[in-house]
Structure formats: structure tokens, C-alpha cells
Symmetry: C2
Subunit: 264 residues, 2 copies
């Protein structure tokens, strides 16, 4: 399908095409398509841009990854489909390892996702096949199978697009969880240590860029940035922002899209 | 996948399973899965219930269908997947014809959807194969092919889950458009004659019930109900409602889901 450049939702449609292409390749699961739709709705409400409070969350996330002993980026189908090369960059900048961890696990799907990551430049991908030989029982489902060199020993985990149960379990076993979730009301958003309320297609490249800038700071300074971050307050600001945008619209009442309002 | 009864999102998960089953049958398109996700997000914000302003919209929609000369229910993949038997009931109560009209059209998919509707009790399904012999050029894409006994001559069309371009085209050729759309900000919602901001799994059965009650009213009374309805004001109320729910949450700030708030 050709998307006209001037289409008001061109970028959003391009992302969707990329996701569908990866769905056909076996990277993205059915559930990943539905989850993407949910994300689109919240992204629309947020104005499809990285907001100021979100930039603060991204800074805290970068600091948390840079001060961790064993940072890990947990990759699922949608993340590999949409931001594989940015994940590789982020891994290089922060030293975080890349581990594939899927809800709908199959040997074939794992291998396909590994290939996508390697083609994007990853030299090492954890959690594939027999490598996922350790268990974190709390995680439940097939996700409990983790790599002893990765998620098992990780002290900080970046989870783009995560379900609430897994986030809760990761926090319970004592890991710092950095979540990327467009819904500031989700269980994942509320339970994570740091929640980045943003679309992964913007959040991961921005996180890599900010991490690159921060990595020359000394560890004490970075620990301060991470510990001073208040996730609940930050989420409150994201909710308030959606709220203000809706207020303006409800007052005007008639046909004006939120996006048009943002551009003014 | 077994869904535990006490799961807070059990109903929503059951609907999702039904959609996936129909996706595998070829009824639902990829895009339908993403669209469903978007709907889920807005439904969550609305509290997953039919609100008071929405009930007014449903009443106006019933009146519009009952006073039309040639009412038609336009059916796409998601609608057939989720509410086939309710569509049949609504058709029986209002005398509206059922026509299949797809963005991703194929002979096989049309036939599959026809079968789903017939198994749900439909005795006549328009728009299948050669029956879609007329054209409404304004509709664009494969959707322009319509049935001369249905959409071509329709004066009122119910479109569950419609895209903005098609809604605009239907209005432009002079038809009354009754849309069901969970996003009160969408172009479809803003352009339709009557917009029902609700999940189709609740809206269609409720519409059938209200139409059954109203059909004994005299035509003048029904025309009054339809003409007095103010769609823009009604949409404003839906937006304000989401807004109030978010305000409450932003104030409380911490981990309380919108759904839990509703139940209080």
C-alpha cells in the first residue's frame, strides 16, 4: 500500500506497514498487532510526540542503565520489528545485553527475531533456544525461561511494551524495571521503576542519544539522577497532559483533531 | 488460552479471543486486529460501559433506521466476527438490509463473512460477488462496489467501525450515516450524522433492543427524536466524560485503574 506523503497520519501508517511486514515474517504475534493498536490510540492522545516529562523519564532510564552492573534489554516481537537497529545502538552505548524473551515462544520465532537483530548489527543475542536454560519462576508462562548470562543476573531490565504480570514479577525479584508504555494507566506503567510514556519508535533512539551524552558523567552523578526520579509524579504529569488536550477539545467541541491542535 | 473468570479484563480478553478465532477463519483482516486494539484503549478510557449520552445516541440511531426508506447495515470483518447474530436481530427489528462491504476485498473473504452471517440467522446478505454490481465512485477503493438493492439506494446506513474517508463519502452522497466508533475524536465520529461512542459488542444488542421498543411509535415522533439529536454536543459529552475520569486519576496519581474507580 502506498502512503501519500501529505497524509496526516503518514508516519503512523508507515510504522503500521513495518509491523505488518514483520508479522508476515513471523516476528510479530497476533497479540502484537492488537497491542500496537492500543498504543496508537494513546499515542494519538499524547500528540504523537515525546513530551517534556517523558524526556525526564528517559534521562532517569539512561542513568539507571549506565549505573547497573548487568543491564539487559528484553526484546519482544514488536520491538524487534520496529526498532532493531536502535536497540543495537542502545546496547552499544550502555553495555546492556540483548535478550529475546517472548510470551508466544517458538524455536522458529526466536530464531527469526535473532536474525532480525543480527541483521541490524547485534553481535550477541541472548535467550535463544537452549541458551535460555535458567528459570525465573515468578515470570510464569514460557517467559520464565531466561538466559543465565542475561535476565537471570540482570539488575536493571529495559522492557519495551510489557504486560503487567511480568513487570510485577521482575520488580518482585528485585530488578529495576524500565518500561516503555504509551498507556500511563497500565499496570506496567504504574509498577515499573521508571516508565517512559512514549512510542518505542521515538523512545529507543532518544534513549540511546541521551545515554551517549550521559555516559561520560561520573557514577555518583548518574546514581543521583536515577534515584531522584519520581515515577508516580511523572505518570501524573502524562495523565494531566492528555487531560488538558481533551479539555481544550471538549470546549471547542467540533471537528478539530488533536494533532491539528498540536501543530499550531 | 483459558481466561480465569476473576481476571479484571476477562470480558475484554474473551472478545479478543473471538476476534483471533475469526482472524484465523479469514473473516478479520490484519488491519482489523490493529483497529480492535485502538478501540480497546478508548473503551478502557470510557470505563467499558455504555454511557448515558451514548444511550441517547443509540435512541437517535434507532429512530433514524426506523424512519428510513432503505436502511442498510454495512458489515465488515470485525462486525461479523463479534456481533453477527445481533446484526441479524437488528435487521429483523428495523427492516434494514445487511450488506457486506470490505476494504480488503476478496471473493473468498466475502463468502466466509456471508457464511458467518447466514449461520447467525441472516436469510439475505447483499453485496457478495457479482451482486455488488453498482458503483458509488466517491467511496474509492474496492468499497465503491455496492449492491444496487442495498448501499446504492440506501438513505440511512449503519457503519460499525468505519474509516473517515468512507464516512465522509457516504455523507457527501446524501446518506444519513450512523457510525459506531469508540474514538469520539475520529473523523468518522465527527462527520457522521449520529455517532454511537461505544463498543460494538454492547452497542449493536442495545440498538436492537431500543429499536424493538421504538418501532411501535408513530413515524412523526420518531422523526422528531432523530432530528432533535445533536451529534456534536453528544460527542462533546463523551470527550468530557473521558476527561473527568482522567482528572480524578491524575489527582489520585498512584496505582488505581480507571476500571476499579468505575466499580466504586
Amino acid at each position: 500500500m502506498k502512503i501519500p506523503k501529505e497524509h496526516p497520519r503518514a508516519e503512523s501508517l508507515r510504522v503500521r506497514e513495518k509491523l505488518l511486514k514483520n508479522y508476515k515474517m513471523g516476528v510479530v504475534a497476533h497479540a502484537g498487532l492488537i497491542a500496537h493498536g492500543r498504543g496508537e490510540a494513546f499515542d494519538y492522545l499524547l500528540g504523537e510526540e515525546t513530551t517534556k516529562p517523558t524526556l525526564e523519564a528517559i534521562e532517569a532510564a539512561a542513568a539507571a542503565l549506565l549505573t547497573a552492573k548487568h543491564p539487559v534489554i528484553s526484546v519482544n516481537g514488536n520491538a524487534a520489528a520496529l526498532v532493531a537497529s536502535d536497540i543495537v545502538k542502545l546496547s552499544e552505548v550502555t553495555g546492556a545485553r540483548i535478550e529475546v524473551n517472548l510470551f508466544y515462544r517458538s524455536a522458529k520465532r526466536e530464531k527469526t527475531i535473532e536474525r532480525v537483530l543480527r541483521e541490524a548489527g547485534a553481535t550477541k543475542v541472548l535467550g535463544i533456544g537452549e541458551d535460555a536454560s535458567a528459570r525465573i519462576q515468578e515470570l510464569g508462562s514460557e517467559r520464565r525461561r531466561v538466559d543465565p548470562k542475561g535476565l537471570l543476573i540482570a539488575d536493571a531490565v529495559l522492557v519495551p511494551l510489557e504486560d503487567g504480570d511480568r513487570t510485577e514479577a521482575l520488580v518482585r525479584v528485585g530488578k529495576k524495571v524500565i518500561a516503555i508504555d504509551l498507556n500511563p494507566l497500565s499496570r506496567t506503567a504504574q509498577l515499573a521503576t521508571v516508565t517512559i510514556v512514549d512510542n518505542i519508535v521515538r523512545a529507543i533512539p532518544t534513549l540511546a542519544k541521551i545515554a551517549k551524552r550521559l555516559r561520560t558523567e561520573d557514577q555518583e552523578k548518574l546514581k543521583e539522577i536515577a534515584s531522584e526520579f519520581d515515577n508516580k509524579r511523572n505518570l501524573g504529569e502524562a495523565i494531566a497532559l492528555i487531560n488538558r488536550r481533551l479539555s481544550e477539545l471538549a470546549e471547542k467541541g467540533t471537528y478539530i483533531s488533536l494533532l491539528e491542535m498540536t501543530k499550531k
